[in-house]
Each structure stands twice: as C-alpha cells, then as structure tokens.
Symmetry: C2
Subunit: 163 residues, 2 copies
C-alpha cells in the first residue's frame, strides 16, 4: 500500500462530509504564492476558507514565468486583485546552489536543465526579488495589494518583508 | 482593511496554537501537483498532516518547466518518490483558448506573453498530458508511484484517470 492509497482512503472520509459546490471565482479575490514546503498548510496559516483564494505553490515560492501565467489567469479571468507572497525559514532553497544542483543532474543523466533552479541565500532578499518580478510584469496588472512575508516554521508566525 | 490584513489576523490565532518545528524533508515522501483553484484545499482533500508532503500548485495543475524544477528539487534534495496529480471539474482552464487569452493581453498592454497559457478542453486528456510530461522528463527520475486524478467540486471525490 502506497501513501497515495492511504490519501485516497482519507478522501472518502472528506467526500462523505463534503458540502459543495462553490462558485469558480475566488470569493475573497486573493491569490497566494507560497513555497511547496510540507510544513506550510497555507489554508490554515492564513485561515482561508474553501472557495476564497487561489493558492499557487512551487519550490521556494519564487516567481518564474509559470507563476506570472497563473497570476495573469487569476486576475484577468477570475477577478483576483490582492497577492500574498510567502517564503519561510529553514527553506531547502537555502541549502544548495544552482550550479551544483545542475551539475549533479548533468553528471547523472547527461542532460543539463535549461531552467534555473532558483536557489537563494537570503530569504528577505528573495521575497523582495519575487515581489519585484510581479511588479515589473506587464501581464499582472490588476493588483491592488502586493505584500511579501516569511513564515517562521518554529513559531507559525508570518513576518512581513519591507523594501 | 484588505483581505490580506484579515488573513494576518487569522495567522495570530494559528500561531498561538502552533506546535513546531517539524523537519524539512516531507515525512511521507509525496509530492502533490494540483490546480490553484480556491475550492481545492489539498491538505483536507487528501488528509495530509503538517510536514508530510510537498504541494505544488498552478493554474490548471499543468506541468511546465517550473513544476519539473519543483519536482526535481523535491525528489533529488528532499527525498520524495510518489507523485499525485490533481485537476478538477468546473476548471477555469476549460473556459478559454490560449490564442484569445494572449490576444487580450496583447491588445491591452501591447506585449504578447512568450509563454503558453496552457488552456485545455478535455480534463482527462490534460491529466494524461501532464502525467506524460513528468514521465518523459529526464530530471524527475526517482518516481516510484505516479497517478493522476480529477477532483469533483460538486462531491469532493477524486476520480483516477487511467491511460
């Protein structure tokens, strides 16, 4: 039995108590961009209820073309206007460099990724960098609020990153 | 008061009851790739507890370079081996075409995105396409289980997509 099977069993319990459906557009008009880290239960951390906010996540919570794509769709088709960006302490992205990561893949597979791994060495600076990438994108143009935070995995608290 | 402020208030309640910290590597060795849709509370849908699984999300739950980047980091640096892919019914990605979406951006901003919007017209087919993109990537090579599902926003149930 895989963990996937175990999670499918959990889904039966979830579905038995499910009350749906809710409308497609996020009722609170928010999009969250956060790291994929297993300790970040974004809905709980922010007290988000079902149907309120889009949640976009990847390694680091960094902003690449795919987050710009998701935010553009979120704003232009589904009416979100606020953006919340979340990085966190003890992040895996602080533990390596792009060059080493890609050299490892190259030596194992013979192929070097054409993409950047987006490792970073300073949490606050990378939050600022991610905010800047959103601010400077011509495709994410409906933003009324854009704020970035570091989640502390030891305390559960969000700390705002200011410029 | 913005919704962001409201969510920050919720975070104070969350932090007051927080028990941490947990270790960085996902304890169940799973990575979930899912749509950003506001109705998909992935932790609840699968019964995921804090610290167990990476959660990667974007518009559609599609697999682009950024999901490959995240999965490569998840597997190579943090030891995940199972992958669960989740699309869902009533998805925004079913409601437009890439050409129309990009023409709209072009006419408003004068710039056409270089990326694909990744709209799709068949849910099951797009789950298969996303699975295939993972299977064929040389950078996601530690997978022991890879399965794709459609979440029904009316019932809360996951339906597996088979090839």
């Amino acid at each position: 039995m895989t963990v996937t099977d175990e999670y499918l069993k959990n889904n039966e319990t979830y579905a038995a108590q499910f009350e749906g459906p809710l409308p497609l557009p996020p009722s609170k008009h928010v999009a969250v961009v956060a790291c994929m880290d297993a300790r970040l239960d974004v809905y709980r951390i922010l007290g988000i209820a079902d149907g309120e906010s889009h949640v976009i996540r990847n390694a680091g919570g960094v902003v690449t073309d795919d987050e710009i794509r998701s935010l553009a769709i979120s704003q232009r088709l589904l009416g979100t206007t606020e953006i919340i960006l979340i990085h966190h302490t003890d992040c895996g992205m602080l533990t390596f460099t792009d060059d080493d990561f890609k050299a490892g893949i190259l030596s194992e597979t013979g192929v070097k990724p054409a993409w950047s791994a987006e490792a970073f060495s300073d949490l606050d600076e990378d939050v600022r960098q991610s905010l800047k990438r959103i601010e400077t994108s011509p495709f994410v143009s409906k933003t009324t609020s854009l704020r970035g935070f570091v989640f502390d995995v030891a305390t559960g608290k969000l700390k705002e990153v200011t410029s």
